[in-house]
Amino acid sequence: MAEFEPVLLARINKPDSTSLASYQADGGYEALRKALGMSPVEVTNTIKDSGLRGRGGAGFPTGLKWTFLPKDHPGPIYLAINADESEPGTFNNRVLMEKDPHQIIEGIAISCYAIKSNTSYLYLRYEYGQSYRALKKAVEECYAAGILGKNIFGSGFDLDIVLHRGAAAYICGEETGLIESLEGKRAWPRIKPPFPAIEGLFRKPTIVNNIETMACVTQIMKRGIEWFKSIGVPPDPANPRDAGSYGPKLYCLSGHVNKPGVYELPMGITARELIEKYGGGVPNGRQVKAVVPGGISMGFLTAAELDTKLDFAGPGKVGCLGLGTAAVVVIDDATSMVDVLFNCARFFAHESCGQCTPCREGTDWMRKILQRMRNGKGTLADLDLLMEVSGSIGTIPGTTICGLADGAAWPVKNAVKKFRSEFEEYIKSGKKSVDPGAHLVGAH
């Protein structure tokens, strides 16, 4: 097979890739012009028929989500863009925003036209300073050129994009947490229904979409449905619920790998191919012990599961939660899974928003159990306790409002099940992990 030619990342290494002039020289905003010549329903159908599934983690079909908006609503309808990219290991949205912001803005404009929205709020995590600067400049260029504002390209369509910066909270990546945060409140996710499409931001119908999804919208409008469906994995005929995994995907590769980075590849590449062919393998002559398939909330693949396809369906077939954000983190065989899991548990305990007791308490229990293990005081019963706690928190057992706890539970379930013998050996040996910050109170 010929090497895949990047599309979403085609422009990122060009000099001046962020400028409007450079974007337009590459045919930028022609896709928007094309969309404005169609009806909003036609644009929605194009995205629906392309099979595009959201790139933010859940993989919900984008066009279908748009059709959930009430018909003939007097407005306003909002498009909230989720650029709160915070899942550990994930950075594809950052690269798109920093290097090709106009591709994102074009996707936002096309999407807003399709859903009849005249205002889009782009919720950007605060830590992304360079993304903010690139987007701010790009938005200003668009206003000056009549690509944003009133009567875009003489079509009668008006659009404002407002950049809104978050304040370093993972929960704001949950779509209703994001909405609450945008409204100026603590980012406590809402009970659904009502779903945002019915009652979202400022209690108005709202669509929440991801940055990479917006880049895909631009390219589908530019290149067509057939192009998008020629890439990736079609639905499994044996599974009537499988919506397929079409299109290119930005895989984030990091951890113990020689060439970390963001790689645009057809959906469905295997973890092995990504790590060996593109990532140049594991450094220092080490072997793979485990791989995070799509952000830590998705769990772990073992070395024996490296031929898992990284499409929407693949990771689930080997007990992971899903493809998530396609953030692939490689862990070598010199690394303790106890330490890795502690790191994951600490993250979720820190980021639980505190609204639901099972999540607030459960994530910290798991952290404490693993901390105890690392201090050489774990018992074999702790493994069962970890399984019990992880099986009790989240939307799957039905004890929490949002999925943060499911994401906190999954790496625990996967690690204890798939690497149980390593955990048992670690506990029995009574060994301790080295904590470089142990002497620093407050580093916890």
Partner: protein, 175 residues
């Protein structure tokens, strides 16, 4: 709170009035009104404006933000404290805010050692500010620069592929 409390860091720009927010900041906050259908939605942007400028959001500043946004001060305080991002007058930020990532991709490549090493170097614990007020050093959860692990964020700029020597070098160049 009475007017006798310390308004450390928020004084010079206030034009001599009783308030702590400068007229310029207030004007910037008012300038955001047309962008949102509710004033409450300006809470985070307002907190950022104040926090970036004064390195803290004092009780008095909260009161003034609330007044500008037609909110009760407790509403602003509730939102502000949820994020654990904003500093109050008890622990204002130093001149520069340095975040060292401790999440998985960075941890696998020495992020924890980097954080501990910088703490030792600067004689602070995570979250503290150096005695000269130059640097506040904190841990961060995933900064989204995992291809350049370990990484650290200094104010608005991310520095990738750090080690102790490189990080010390970058910090020594801060003005």
């Amino acid at each position: 709170m009475s007017g006798t409390q310390s308004l450390n860091g928020a004084g010079p720009a206030n034009g001599g009035g009783r308030g702590v927010l400068s007229e310029e900041i207030k004007e910037q906050i008012r300038g955001l009104y047309p962008k949102y259908p509710t004033k409450r939605a300006i809470t985070l942007p307002a907190l950022h404006l104040v926090h970036d400028t004064y390195r803290q959001v004092s009780v008095e500043a909260i009161r003034e933000i609330a007044e500008l946004l037609d909110l009760h001060p407790s509403e602003v305080h509730d939102t502000m404290t949820f994020y654990q991002f904003f500093r109050d007058e008890k622990a204002p930020l130093g001149k520069h805010r340095v975040w060292v990532c401790r999440s998985i991709s960075c941890m696998l490549r020495g992020g924890e050692e980097l954080l501990a090493g910088l703490c030792d170097k600067l004689h602070v614990k995570p979250g503290d500010t150096t005695s000269d007020g130059a640097v506040t050093l904190e841990f961060a959860e995933c900064l989204g620069a995992c291809e350049g692990a370990p990484c650290m964020l200094i104010d608005e700029d991310c520095h990738m592929n750090m080690d102790q020597a490189k990080a010390t070098q970058v910090l020594s160049q801060l003005a």
